[in-house]
Symmetry: C2
Subunit: 307 residues, 2 copies
Amino acid sequence: MSILSIGTVAFDDIETPFGKSDKILGGSASFIGLSASLLAPKVNIVAVVGDDMPKAEIDMLKSNGVDTEGLQIKEGEKSFFWAGKYHNDMNSRDTLVTDLNVLANFDPVIPENYQDCKFLMLGNLAPATQKLVIERLKNRPELIVMDTMNFWMDTAFNDLMEVLAMIDVISINDEEARQLSNEYSLVKAARKIMSFGPKTVIIKKGEHGALLFQGNKMFYAPALPLENVFDPTGAGDSFVGGFIGYLAKNNDTSFAAMKKGILYGSAIASFCVEAFGTKRLENLTTEEVEARYHEFIRLVSVEEIYA
Amino acid sequence: MSILSIGTVAFDDIETPFGKSDKILGGSASFIGLSASLLAPKVNIVAVVGDDMPKAEIDMLKSNGVDTEGLQIKEGEKSFFWAGKYHNDMNSRDTLVTDLNVLANFDPVIPENYQDCKFLMLGNLAPATQKLVIERLKNRPELIVMDTMNFWMDTAFNDLMEVLAMIDVISINDEEARQLSNEYSLVKAARKIMSFGPKTVIIKKGEHGALLFQGNKMFYAPALPLENVFDPTGAGDSFVGGFIGYLAKNNDTSFAAMKKGILYGSAIASFCVEAFGTKRLENLTTEEVEARYHEFIRLVSVEEIYA
Protein backbone atom coordinates (compact mmCIF):
# COMPACT_ATOMS: atom_id res chain seq x y z
CA MET A 1 0.00 0.00 0.00
CA SER A 2 1.36 3.41 -0.90
CA ILE A 3 2.49 5.86 1.73
CA LEU A 4 2.47 9.58 1.24
CA SER A 5 4.62 11.61 3.58
CA ILE A 6 4.69 15.33 3.78
CA GLY A 7 7.60 16.96 5.56
CA THR A 8 10.92 18.66 5.04
CA VAL A 9 13.96 17.82 2.97
CA ALA A 10 16.62 20.08 4.36
CA PHE A 11 20.17 20.75 5.48
CA ASP A 12 21.26 20.10 9.04
CA ASP A 13 24.49 21.14 10.72
CA ILE A 14 24.86 19.07 13.86
CA GLU A 15 27.34 19.15 16.69
CA THR A 16 27.43 16.35 19.27
CA PRO A 17 30.06 15.44 21.89
CA PHE A 18 31.43 13.06 19.22
CA GLY A 19 31.99 15.60 16.46
CA LYS A 20 30.53 17.98 13.94
CA SER A 21 28.63 16.95 10.83
CA ASP A 22 28.94 20.10 8.71
CA LYS A 23 26.04 20.64 6.28
CA ILE A 24 24.32 17.30 5.62
CA LEU A 25 20.96 16.04 4.41
CA GLY A 26 18.21 16.20 7.02
CA GLY A 27 14.50 16.91 7.32
CA SER A 28 11.50 14.89 8.41
CA ALA A 29 10.54 13.67 4.93
CA SER A 30 14.10 12.41 4.34
CA PHE A 31 14.15 10.37 7.56
CA ILE A 32 10.55 9.17 7.21
CA GLY A 33 11.05 8.28 3.54
CA LEU A 34 14.23 6.31 4.17
CA SER A 35 12.87 4.42 7.17
CA ALA A 36 9.40 3.68 5.76
CA SER A 37 10.92 2.45 2.49
CA LEU A 38 12.85 -0.20 4.41
CA LEU A 39 9.49 -1.90 4.98
CA ALA A 40 6.95 -0.56 2.49
CA PRO A 41 7.30 -0.93 -1.27
CA LYS A 42 6.64 2.72 -2.20
CA VAL A 43 6.97 5.94 -0.27
CA ASN A 44 5.93 9.17 -1.93
CA ILE A 45 7.07 12.46 -0.46
CA VAL A 46 5.76 15.97 -0.79
CA ALA A 47 8.37 18.55 0.22
CA VAL A 48 10.27 21.56 -1.07
CA VAL A 49 13.98 22.36 -1.51
CA GLY A 50 16.02 25.15 -3.06
CA ASP A 51 18.38 24.64 -6.00
CA ASP A 52 21.22 24.27 -3.50
CA MET A 53 20.13 20.69 -2.73
CA PRO A 54 22.63 18.42 -4.55
CA LYS A 55 21.18 16.06 -7.14
CA ALA A 56 23.18 13.28 -5.48
CA GLU A 57 21.08 13.55 -2.31
CA ILE A 58 17.83 13.37 -4.28
CA ASP A 59 19.20 10.43 -6.25
CA MET A 60 20.13 8.73 -2.97
CA LEU A 61 16.52 9.05 -1.76
CA LYS A 62 15.25 7.65 -5.09
CA SER A 63 17.62 4.71 -5.05
CA ASN A 64 16.35 3.88 -1.55
CA GLY A 65 12.76 3.61 -2.75
CA VAL A 66 11.59 7.15 -2.09
CA ASP A 67 9.53 8.66 -4.92
CA THR A 68 10.51 12.33 -5.34
CA GLU A 69 7.97 13.43 -7.96
CA GLY A 70 6.36 15.50 -5.19
CA LEU A 71 9.64 17.18 -4.24
CA GLN A 72 9.47 20.76 -5.51
CA ILE A 73 12.79 22.39 -6.43
CA LYS A 74 12.67 26.19 -6.22
CA GLU A 75 15.15 27.83 -8.56
CA GLY A 76 17.17 30.64 -7.02
CA GLU A 77 16.06 29.75 -3.50
CA LYS A 78 17.69 28.00 -0.58
CA SER A 79 16.67 24.85 1.27
CA PHE A 80 15.50 24.88 4.87
CA PHE A 81 18.52 24.90 7.19
CA TRP A 82 18.79 23.92 10.86
CA ALA A 83 21.90 23.96 13.03
CA GLY A 84 21.99 22.57 16.54
CA LYS A 85 24.30 21.44 19.27
CA TYR A 86 23.54 18.53 21.60
CA HIS A 87 24.45 18.64 25.27
CA ASN A 88 26.62 15.95 26.82
CA ASP A 89 23.64 13.84 27.92
CA MET A 90 22.32 13.85 24.31
CA ASN A 91 18.81 14.33 25.68
CA SER A 92 18.72 18.07 25.16
CA ARG A 93 20.03 20.41 22.51
CA ASP A 94 20.33 24.07 21.60
CA THR A 95 19.09 25.31 18.25
CA LEU A 96 21.77 27.58 16.82
CA VAL A 97 20.22 28.47 13.45
CA THR A 98 16.79 28.03 11.86
CA ASP A 99 16.62 29.42 8.31
CA LEU A 100 13.17 28.69 6.90
CA ASN A 101 14.15 29.74 3.34
CA VAL A 102 11.88 27.84 0.87
CA LEU A 103 9.76 26.56 3.75
CA ALA A 104 8.39 30.06 4.45
CA ASN A 105 6.03 29.84 1.45
CA PHE A 106 5.65 26.10 1.11
CA ASP A 107 2.53 25.16 -0.84
CA PRO A 108 2.17 21.37 -0.72
CA VAL A 109 1.20 20.31 -4.23
CA ILE A 110 0.16 16.68 -4.51
CA PRO A 111 1.00 14.98 -7.83
CA GLU A 112 -1.90 13.12 -9.45
CA ASN A 113 0.12 9.89 -9.07
CA TYR A 114 0.01 10.30 -5.29
CA GLN A 115 -3.78 10.48 -5.05
CA ASP A 116 -4.04 6.73 -4.41
CA CYS A 117 -2.61 7.36 -0.91
CA LYS A 118 -3.83 4.87 1.70
CA PHE A 119 -1.38 5.80 4.45
CA LEU A 120 -0.74 9.48 5.03
CA MET A 121 2.16 10.59 7.22
CA LEU A 122 2.06 14.25 8.21
CA GLY A 123 5.64 15.04 9.22
CA ASN A 124 6.29 17.91 11.58
CA LEU A 125 5.25 21.11 9.77
CA ALA A 126 2.88 24.03 10.38
CA PRO A 127 -0.54 22.51 11.20
CA ALA A 128 -2.13 24.68 8.50
CA THR A 129 0.11 23.02 5.89
CA GLN A 130 -0.70 19.56 7.28
CA LYS A 131 -4.39 20.37 7.00
CA LEU A 132 -4.01 21.53 3.37
CA VAL A 133 -2.61 18.13 2.45
CA ILE A 134 -5.57 16.29 3.94
CA GLU A 135 -7.94 18.61 2.06
CA ARG A 136 -6.14 18.19 -1.26
CA LEU A 137 -6.48 14.41 -1.24
CA LYS A 138 -9.63 13.42 -3.13
CA ASN A 139 -10.26 10.44 -0.87
CA ARG A 140 -9.54 10.32 2.82
CA PRO A 141 -6.61 7.96 3.43
CA GLU A 142 -7.27 4.81 5.45
CA LEU A 143 -4.89 6.03 8.14
CA ILE A 144 -3.57 9.51 8.88
CA VAL A 145 -0.60 9.75 11.25
CA MET A 146 0.74 13.09 12.38
CA ASP A 147 3.85 14.30 14.10
CA THR A 148 4.04 17.75 15.67
CA MET A 149 6.07 19.66 18.25
CA ASN A 150 5.71 22.10 21.13
CA PHE A 151 6.55 25.04 18.81
CA TRP A 152 3.12 24.64 17.12
CA MET A 153 1.38 24.32 20.49
CA ASP A 154 2.84 27.70 21.39
CA THR A 155 2.29 29.47 18.08
CA ALA A 156 -0.57 27.75 16.18
CA PHE A 157 -2.71 26.07 18.84
CA ASN A 158 -6.06 26.51 17.08
CA ASP A 159 -4.73 25.20 13.77
CA LEU A 160 -3.21 22.26 15.60
CA MET A 161 -6.53 21.42 17.27
CA GLU A 162 -8.25 21.49 13.86
CA VAL A 163 -5.79 18.99 12.43
CA LEU A 164 -6.03 16.79 15.53
CA ALA A 165 -9.75 16.42 14.88
CA MET A 166 -9.00 15.11 11.36
CA ILE A 167 -6.37 12.44 12.04
CA ASP A 168 -6.13 8.88 13.41
CA VAL A 169 -2.75 8.67 15.13
CA ILE A 170 -0.57 11.31 16.78
CA SER A 171 3.08 10.71 17.60
CA ILE A 172 4.63 13.14 20.10
CA ASN A 173 7.16 13.03 22.91
CA ASP A 174 6.31 12.88 26.62
CA GLU A 175 7.04 16.56 27.28
CA GLU A 176 4.84 17.60 24.37
CA ALA A 177 2.05 15.24 25.46
CA ARG A 178 2.10 16.85 28.90
CA GLN A 179 2.03 20.35 27.40
CA LEU A 180 -0.78 19.54 24.96
CA SER A 181 -2.97 17.89 27.61
CA ASN A 182 -1.96 19.84 30.69
CA GLU A 183 -1.76 16.47 32.48
CA TYR A 184 1.38 15.03 34.10
CA SER A 185 0.33 11.36 34.11
CA LEU A 186 0.89 10.02 30.60
CA VAL A 187 -2.20 7.82 30.95
CA LYS A 188 -4.33 10.90 31.62
CA ALA A 189 -2.47 12.88 28.94
CA ALA A 190 -3.16 10.21 26.31
CA ARG A 191 -6.84 10.04 27.26
CA LYS A 192 -7.21 13.81 26.97
CA ILE A 193 -5.43 13.91 23.61
CA MET A 194 -7.72 11.14 22.33
CA SER A 195 -10.65 13.41 23.25
CA PHE A 196 -9.23 15.98 20.77
CA GLY A 197 -9.67 13.54 17.87
CA PRO A 198 -7.04 10.86 17.31
CA LYS A 199 -8.12 7.35 18.34
CA THR A 200 -4.50 6.38 18.84
CA VAL A 201 -1.76 8.22 20.73
CA ILE A 202 1.93 7.35 20.61
CA ILE A 203 4.09 8.95 23.28
CA LYS A 204 7.83 8.82 22.58
CA LYS A 205 10.09 8.74 25.63
CA GLY A 206 13.49 8.68 23.90
CA GLU A 207 15.92 6.39 25.72
CA HIS A 208 12.96 5.12 27.79
CA GLY A 209 10.97 3.71 24.88
CA ALA A 210 7.47 4.58 23.73
CA LEU A 211 3.87 4.11 24.81
CA LEU A 212 0.94 3.28 22.56
CA PHE A 213 -2.60 4.10 23.69
CA GLN A 214 -5.89 3.28 21.97
CA GLY A 215 -9.13 3.43 23.94
CA ASN A 216 -8.33 1.55 27.12
CA LYS A 217 -5.57 -0.49 25.49
CA MET A 218 -1.96 0.24 26.24
CA PHE A 219 1.38 -1.08 24.97
CA TYR A 220 4.88 -0.33 26.24
CA ALA A 221 7.73 -0.53 23.72
CA PRO A 222 11.17 -0.56 25.31
CA ALA A 223 14.14 1.29 23.91
CA LEU A 224 17.25 -0.76 23.36
CA PRO A 225 19.84 0.42 25.89
CA LEU A 226 22.70 1.61 23.68
CA GLU A 227 26.38 1.96 24.40
CA ASN A 228 26.74 4.95 22.14
CA VAL A 229 24.30 7.46 20.78
CA PHE A 230 26.20 9.32 18.11
CA ASP A 231 23.51 11.70 16.85
CA PRO A 232 19.83 11.64 17.95
CA THR A 233 18.70 13.85 15.04
CA GLY A 234 15.92 12.17 13.08
CA ALA A 235 15.29 9.42 15.61
CA GLY A 236 11.65 10.45 16.09
CA ASP A 237 11.06 10.66 12.32
CA SER A 238 12.74 7.29 11.72
CA PHE A 239 10.57 5.85 14.46
CA VAL A 240 7.29 7.03 12.98
CA GLY A 241 8.50 6.19 9.46
CA GLY A 242 9.16 2.61 10.53
CA PHE A 243 5.78 2.52 12.26
CA ILE A 244 3.75 3.58 9.21
CA GLY A 245 6.02 1.57 6.91
CA TYR A 246 5.16 -1.61 8.79
CA LEU A 247 1.42 -0.89 8.72
CA ALA A 248 1.49 -0.08 4.99
CA LYS A 249 3.56 -3.17 4.16
CA ASN A 250 0.93 -5.39 5.81
CA ASN A 251 -2.05 -3.19 4.92
CA ASP A 252 -3.12 -3.58 8.55
CA THR A 253 -4.20 -0.81 10.91
CA SER A 254 -5.23 -3.02 13.85
CA PHE A 255 -3.90 -2.42 17.35
CA ALA A 256 -1.94 -5.68 17.09
CA ALA A 257 -0.20 -4.40 13.95
CA MET A 258 0.49 -1.04 15.58
CA LYS A 259 2.30 -2.77 18.46
CA LYS A 260 4.63 -4.47 16.02
CA GLY A 261 4.91 -1.27 13.99
CA ILE A 262 6.17 0.57 17.05
CA LEU A 263 8.85 -2.04 17.61
CA TYR A 264 9.93 -1.80 13.95
CA GLY A 265 10.02 1.98 14.31
CA SER A 266 12.09 1.65 17.49
CA ALA A 267 14.44 -0.77 15.74
CA ILE A 268 15.06 1.60 12.84
CA ALA A 269 15.46 4.59 15.19
CA SER A 270 18.07 2.65 17.17
CA PHE A 271 20.14 2.39 13.98
CA CYS A 272 19.53 6.02 12.99
CA VAL A 273 21.33 7.37 16.07
CA GLU A 274 24.49 5.38 15.28
CA ALA A 275 25.75 7.97 12.74
CA PHE A 276 25.22 11.57 11.70
CA GLY A 277 21.96 12.43 9.97
CA THR A 278 20.63 9.88 7.48
CA LYS A 279 24.01 8.14 6.97
CA ARG A 280 23.14 4.92 8.80
CA LEU A 281 19.68 4.65 7.22
CA GLU A 282 21.13 5.00 3.72
CA ASN A 283 22.85 1.63 3.85
CA LEU A 284 20.61 -0.15 6.35
CA THR A 285 19.22 -3.50 5.18
CA THR A 286 15.87 -5.13 5.89
CA GLU A 287 17.77 -8.10 7.38
CA GLU A 288 19.41 -5.81 9.94
CA VAL A 289 16.03 -4.28 10.79
CA GLU A 290 14.47 -7.73 11.16
CA ALA A 291 17.28 -8.89 13.48
CA ARG A 292 17.01 -5.76 15.62
CA TYR A 293 13.22 -6.19 15.83
CA HIS A 294 13.79 -9.64 17.35
CA GLU A 295 16.29 -8.12 19.77
CA PHE A 296 13.48 -5.86 21.00
CA ILE A 297 11.16 -8.86 21.39
CA ARG A 298 13.80 -10.75 23.40
CA LEU A 299 14.63 -7.71 25.52
CA VAL A 300 11.24 -7.75 27.26
CA SER A 301 10.49 -11.46 27.12
CA VAL A 302 10.51 -13.46 30.34
CA GLU A 303 10.72 -16.68 28.33
CA GLU A 304 13.84 -17.72 26.45
CA ILE A 305 13.35 -17.00 22.76
CA TYR A 306 15.80 -18.15 20.14
CA ALA A 307 14.05 -16.72 17.10
CA MET B 1 13.86 -20.65 51.43
CA SER B 2 14.39 -18.15 54.18
CA ILE B 3 15.21 -14.53 53.45
CA LEU B 4 17.16 -12.32 55.81
CA SER B 5 16.83 -8.62 55.27
CA ILE B 6 18.81 -6.00 57.09
CA GLY B 7 17.58 -2.43 56.93
CA THR B 8 15.64 0.19 58.82
CA VAL B 9 12.32 0.17 60.63
CA ALA B 10 11.56 3.82 61.10
CA PHE B 11 9.16 6.73 61.12
CA ASP B 12 8.53 8.77 57.99
CA ASP B 13 6.69 12.04 57.68
CA ILE B 14 5.79 12.53 54.06
CA GLU B 15 4.27 15.39 52.14
CA THR B 16 3.13 14.94 48.56
CA PRO B 17 0.92 17.12 46.34
CA PHE B 18 -1.94 14.86 47.55
CA GLY B 19 -1.53 15.40 51.28
CA LYS B 20 0.54 14.88 54.38
CA SER B 21 1.02 11.54 56.13
CA ASP B 22 2.11 12.69 59.60
CA LYS B 23 4.39 10.23 61.39
CA ILE B 24 3.92 6.75 59.91
CA LEU B 25 5.83 3.47 59.69
CA GLY B 26 8.63 3.50 57.12
CA GLY B 27 12.12 2.12 56.64
CA SER B 28 13.72 -0.23 54.14
CA ALA B 29 13.26 -3.37 56.25
CA SER B 30 9.54 -2.63 56.67
CA PHE B 31 8.97 -2.26 52.93
CA ILE B 32 11.24 -5.16 51.99
CA GLY B 33 9.73 -7.41 54.66
CA LEU B 34 6.13 -6.69 53.64
CA SER B 35 6.78 -7.09 49.91
CA ALA B 36 9.01 -10.19 50.13
CA SER B 37 6.55 -11.91 52.47
CA LEU B 38 3.85 -11.61 49.79
CA LEU B 39 5.81 -14.24 47.86
CA ALA B 40 8.24 -16.02 50.21
CA PRO B 41 7.10 -18.04 53.23
CA LYS B 42 9.44 -16.47 55.79
CA VAL B 43 11.21 -13.13 55.93
CA ASN B 44 13.54 -12.42 58.84
CA ILE B 45 14.58 -8.86 59.50
CA VAL B 46 17.49 -7.39 61.42
CA ALA B 47 16.90 -3.77 62.36
CA VAL B 48 16.71 -1.43 65.35
CA VAL B 49 13.97 0.83 66.75
CA GLY B 50 13.52 2.95 69.87
CA ASP B 51 10.81 2.35 72.44
CA ASP B 52 8.68 4.93 70.64
CA MET B 53 7.78 2.39 67.94
CA PRO B 54 4.19 1.26 68.67
CA LYS B 55 3.70 -2.43 69.35
CA ALA B 56 0.83 -2.33 66.85
CA GLU B 57 3.27 -1.62 64.00
CA ILE B 58 5.52 -4.50 65.01
CA ASP B 59 2.47 -6.76 65.33
CA MET B 60 1.35 -5.67 61.86
CA LEU B 61 4.73 -6.75 60.42
CA LYS B 62 4.46 -10.10 62.25
CA SER B 63 0.92 -10.76 61.07
CA ASN B 64 2.12 -10.16 57.51
CA GLY B 65 4.75 -12.90 57.76
CA VAL B 66 7.73 -10.81 58.86
CA ASP B 67 9.77 -12.40 61.68
CA THR B 68 10.85 -9.68 64.12
CA GLU B 69 13.10 -11.66 66.45
CA GLY B 70 16.01 -9.72 64.95
CA LEU B 71 14.36 -6.36 65.59
CA GLN B 72 16.19 -4.72 68.49
CA ILE B 73 14.15 -2.35 70.68
CA LYS B 74 16.32 0.21 72.47
CA GLU B 75 14.74 1.40 75.71
CA GLY B 76 14.84 5.14 76.23
CA GLU B 77 15.89 5.81 72.65
CA LYS B 78 14.08 7.05 69.58
CA SER B 79 13.55 5.37 66.20
CA PHE B 80 15.14 6.66 63.01
CA PHE B 81 13.05 9.51 61.60
CA TRP B 82 12.90 10.94 58.10
CA ALA B 83 10.72 13.75 56.81
CA GLY B 84 10.50 14.73 53.17
CA LYS B 85 8.44 16.63 50.68
CA TYR B 86 7.88 15.53 47.10
CA HIS B 87 7.80 18.02 44.24
CA ASN B 88 4.83 18.22 41.90
CA ASP B 89 6.34 15.81 39.37
CA MET B 90 6.85 13.21 42.16
CA ASN B 91 10.25 12.39 40.68
CA SER B 92 12.24 14.54 43.05
CA ARG B 93 11.96 15.40 46.72
CA ASP B 94 13.51 17.50 49.44
CA THR B 95 14.65 15.92 52.68
CA LEU B 96 13.40 18.09 55.53
CA VAL B 97 14.60 16.08 58.55
CA THR B 98 16.93 13.13 59.07
CA ASP B 99 17.24 12.09 62.74
CA LEU B 100 19.46 9.02 62.93
CA ASN B 101 18.62 8.36 66.63
CA VAL B 102 19.05 4.58 67.29
CA LEU B 103 20.60 4.12 63.87
CA ALA B 104 23.73 6.07 64.88
CA ASN B 105 25.06 3.11 66.89
CA PHE B 106 23.31 0.25 65.14
CA ASP B 107 25.08 -3.07 65.72
CA PRO B 108 23.36 -5.70 63.58
CA VAL B 109 23.01 -8.76 65.82
CA ILE B 110 21.89 -11.87 63.96
CA PRO B 111 19.72 -14.31 65.96
CA GLU B 112 20.85 -17.93 65.85
CA ASN B 113 17.52 -18.81 64.20
CA TYR B 114 18.47 -16.60 61.23
CA GLN B 115 21.75 -18.37 60.48
CA ASP B 116 20.08 -20.66 57.92
CA CYS B 117 19.80 -17.65 55.59
CA LYS B 118 19.93 -18.57 51.89
CA PHE B 119 18.86 -15.21 50.50
CA LEU B 120 20.38 -12.12 52.04
CA MET B 121 18.95 -8.69 51.29
CA LEU B 122 21.14 -5.80 52.37
CA GLY B 123 18.78 -2.85 52.53
CA ASN B 124 20.17 0.65 52.20
CA LEU B 125 22.44 1.27 55.22
CA ALA B 126 26.06 2.25 55.84
CA PRO B 127 28.21 -0.15 53.77
CA ALA B 128 30.25 -0.98 56.91
CA THR B 129 27.06 -2.25 58.57
CA GLN B 130 26.11 -4.24 55.48
CA LYS B 131 29.59 -5.83 55.52
CA LEU B 132 29.26 -6.77 59.21
CA VAL B 133 26.12 -8.76 58.44
CA ILE B 134 27.86 -10.78 55.73
CA GLU B 135 30.74 -11.48 58.11
CA ARG B 136 28.44 -12.53 60.95
CA LEU B 137 26.71 -15.21 58.92
CA LYS B 138 28.49 -18.54 59.46
CA ASN B 139 27.78 -19.68 55.90
CA ARG B 140 27.75 -17.44 52.88
CA PRO B 141 24.16 -17.13 51.62
CA GLU B 142 23.38 -18.48 48.17
CA LEU B 143 22.49 -15.00 46.95
CA ILE B 144 23.39 -11.60 48.37
CA VAL B 145 21.46 -8.62 47.02
CA MET B 146 22.31 -5.08 48.05
CA ASP B 147 20.68 -1.72 47.77
CA THR B 148 22.63 1.49 48.30
CA MET B 149 22.41 5.18 47.50
CA ASN B 150 24.49 8.12 46.33
CA PHE B 151 24.99 9.30 49.93
CA TRP B 152 27.33 6.33 50.55
CA MET B 153 29.17 6.95 47.28
CA ASP B 154 29.90 10.45 48.55
CA THR B 155 30.76 9.60 52.16
CA ALA B 156 31.88 5.95 52.35
CA PHE B 157 33.20 5.08 48.90
CA ASN B 158 35.92 2.65 50.02
CA ASP B 159 33.56 0.75 52.32
CA LEU B 160 31.04 0.57 49.52
CA MET B 161 33.61 -0.87 47.12
CA GLU B 162 34.50 -3.54 49.70
CA VAL B 163 30.88 -4.64 50.01
CA LEU B 164 30.44 -4.58 46.24
CA ALA B 165 33.22 -7.16 45.96
CA MET B 166 31.30 -9.49 48.32
CA ILE B 167 27.81 -9.49 46.81
CA ASP B 168 25.93 -11.00 43.85
CA VAL B 169 23.31 -8.44 42.85
CA ILE B 170 23.20 -4.68 43.24
CA SER B 171 19.99 -2.68 42.84
CA ILE B 172 20.42 1.06 42.28
CA ASN B 173 18.75 3.82 40.32
CA ASP B 174 19.99 5.22 37.01
CA GLU B 175 21.46 8.39 38.48
CA GLU B 176 23.36 6.38 41.10
CA ALA B 177 24.59 3.90 38.48
CA ARG B 178 25.98 6.78 36.47
CA GLN B 179 27.66 8.28 39.53
CA LEU B 180 29.15 4.97 40.66
CA SER B 181 30.52 4.10 37.22
CA ASN B 182 31.24 7.54 35.85
CA GLU B 183 29.59 6.36 32.61
CA TYR B 184 26.49 7.92 31.05
CA SER B 185 25.39 4.94 28.94
CA LEU B 186 23.61 2.51 31.26
CA VAL B 187 25.06 -0.42 29.30
CA LYS B 188 28.57 0.83 30.00
CA ALA B 189 27.65 1.73 33.58
CA ALA B 190 26.36 -1.78 34.27
CA ARG B 191 29.47 -3.36 32.75
CA LYS B 192 31.75 -1.22 34.91
CA ILE B 193 29.76 -1.95 38.07
CA MET B 194 29.97 -5.68 37.30
CA SER B 195 33.76 -5.26 37.24
CA PHE B 196 33.53 -4.09 40.89
CA GLY B 197 32.11 -7.46 41.96
CA PRO B 198 28.41 -8.14 41.46
CA LYS B 199 27.61 -10.49 38.58
CA THR B 200 24.16 -8.95 38.26
CA VAL B 201 23.19 -5.28 38.11
CA ILE B 202 19.65 -3.95 38.38
CA ILE B 203 19.17 -0.34 37.35
CA LYS B 204 15.89 1.20 38.50
CA LYS B 205 14.48 3.95 36.29
CA GLY B 206 11.35 4.83 38.28
CA GLU B 207 8.42 5.56 35.98
CA HIS B 208 10.54 4.23 33.08
CA GLY B 209 10.95 0.70 34.44
CA ALA B 210 14.12 -1.19 35.26
CA LEU B 211 17.03 -2.85 33.50
CA LEU B 212 18.63 -6.16 34.46
CA PHE B 213 22.19 -6.89 33.35
CA GLN B 214 24.18 -10.10 33.80
CA GLY B 215 27.29 -10.71 31.69
CA ASN B 216 26.14 -9.87 28.18
CA LYS B 217 22.50 -10.60 28.95
CA MET B 218 20.02 -7.79 29.31
CA PHE B 219 16.34 -7.54 30.23
CA TYR B 220 14.05 -4.52 30.16
CA ALA B 221 11.16 -4.45 32.64
CA PRO B 222 8.57 -1.79 31.87
CA ALA B 223 6.86 0.29 34.50
CA LEU B 224 3.09 0.31 34.41
CA PRO B 225 2.00 3.81 33.37
CA LEU B 226 -0.10 4.97 36.31
CA GLU B 227 -2.85 7.55 36.53
CA ASN B 228 -1.92 8.55 40.05
CA VAL B 229 1.23 8.19 42.09
CA PHE B 230 0.20 9.03 45.60
CA ASP B 231 3.49 8.48 47.45
CA PRO B 232 6.67 7.06 45.88
CA THR B 233 8.31 6.40 49.28
CA GLY B 234 9.39 2.78 49.57
CA ALA B 235 8.86 1.94 45.90
CA GLY B 236 12.51 0.93 45.43
CA ASP B 237 12.47 -1.23 48.58
CA SER B 238 9.18 -2.88 47.61
CA PHE B 239 10.66 -3.55 44.19
CA VAL B 240 13.77 -5.30 45.50
CA GLY B 241 11.72 -7.06 48.20
CA GLY B 242 9.44 -8.53 45.55
CA PHE B 243 12.48 -9.48 43.48
CA ILE B 244 14.22 -11.44 46.23
CA GLY B 245 10.87 -12.79 47.49
CA TYR B 246 10.21 -14.36 44.10
CA LEU B 247 13.69 -15.93 43.92
CA ALA B 248 13.42 -17.30 47.45
CA LYS B 249 9.91 -18.69 46.88
CA ASN B 250 11.19 -20.69 43.90
CA ASN B 251 14.69 -21.28 45.28
CA ASP B 252 15.98 -20.22 41.88
CA THR B 253 18.76 -17.71 41.17
CA SER B 254 18.90 -18.19 37.38
CA PHE B 255 18.72 -15.24 35.00
CA ALA B 256 15.30 -16.48 33.84
CA ALA B 257 14.01 -16.37 37.43
CA MET B 258 15.52 -12.91 37.95
CA LYS B 259 13.58 -11.60 34.94
CA LYS B 260 10.32 -12.75 36.48
CA GLY B 261 11.46 -11.54 39.89
CA ILE B 262 11.92 -8.04 38.52
CA LEU B 263 8.40 -8.05 37.13
CA TYR B 264 7.02 -9.23 40.49
CA GLY B 265 9.02 -6.48 42.19
CA SER B 266 7.67 -3.94 39.71
CA ALA B 267 4.14 -5.20 40.30
CA ILE B 268 4.40 -4.81 44.08
CA ALA B 269 6.07 -1.39 43.74
CA SER B 270 3.19 -0.24 41.52
CA PHE B 271 0.81 -0.98 44.40
CA CYS B 272 3.09 0.58 47.02
CA VAL B 273 2.83 4.05 45.47
CA GLU B 274 -0.98 4.02 45.61
CA ALA B 275 -1.08 5.06 49.29
CA PHE B 276 1.12 6.62 51.97
CA GLY B 277 3.99 4.53 53.31
CA THR B 278 3.32 0.82 53.83
CA LYS B 279 -0.49 1.21 53.91
CA ARG B 280 -1.20 -0.42 50.55
CA LEU B 281 1.25 -3.28 51.14
CA GLU B 282 -0.34 -4.10 54.49
CA ASN B 283 -3.57 -5.35 52.90
CA LEU B 284 -2.22 -6.42 49.52
CA THR B 285 -3.06 -10.00 48.48
CA THR B 286 -1.04 -12.49 46.46
CA GLU B 287 -3.95 -12.67 44.00
CA GLU B 288 -3.67 -8.93 43.35
CA VAL B 289 0.10 -9.27 42.86
CA GLU B 290 -0.39 -12.20 40.47
CA ALA B 291 -2.94 -10.27 38.41
CA ARG B 292 -0.68 -7.20 38.24
CA TYR B 293 2.26 -9.40 37.17
CA HIS B 294 0.20 -10.59 34.21
CA GLU B 295 -0.65 -6.97 33.39
CA PHE B 296 3.09 -6.32 33.09
CA ILE B 297 3.47 -9.35 30.81
CA ARG B 298 0.62 -8.15 28.58
CA LEU B 299 1.91 -4.57 28.54
CA VAL B 300 4.99 -5.50 26.48
CA SER B 301 3.60 -8.43 24.54
CA VAL B 302 3.05 -8.06 20.80
CA GLU B 303 0.84 -11.13 20.82
CA GLU B 304 -2.61 -11.14 22.36
CA ILE B 305 -2.43 -12.86 25.75
CA TYR B 306 -5.52 -13.67 27.73
CA ALA B 307 -3.81 -15.27 30.73
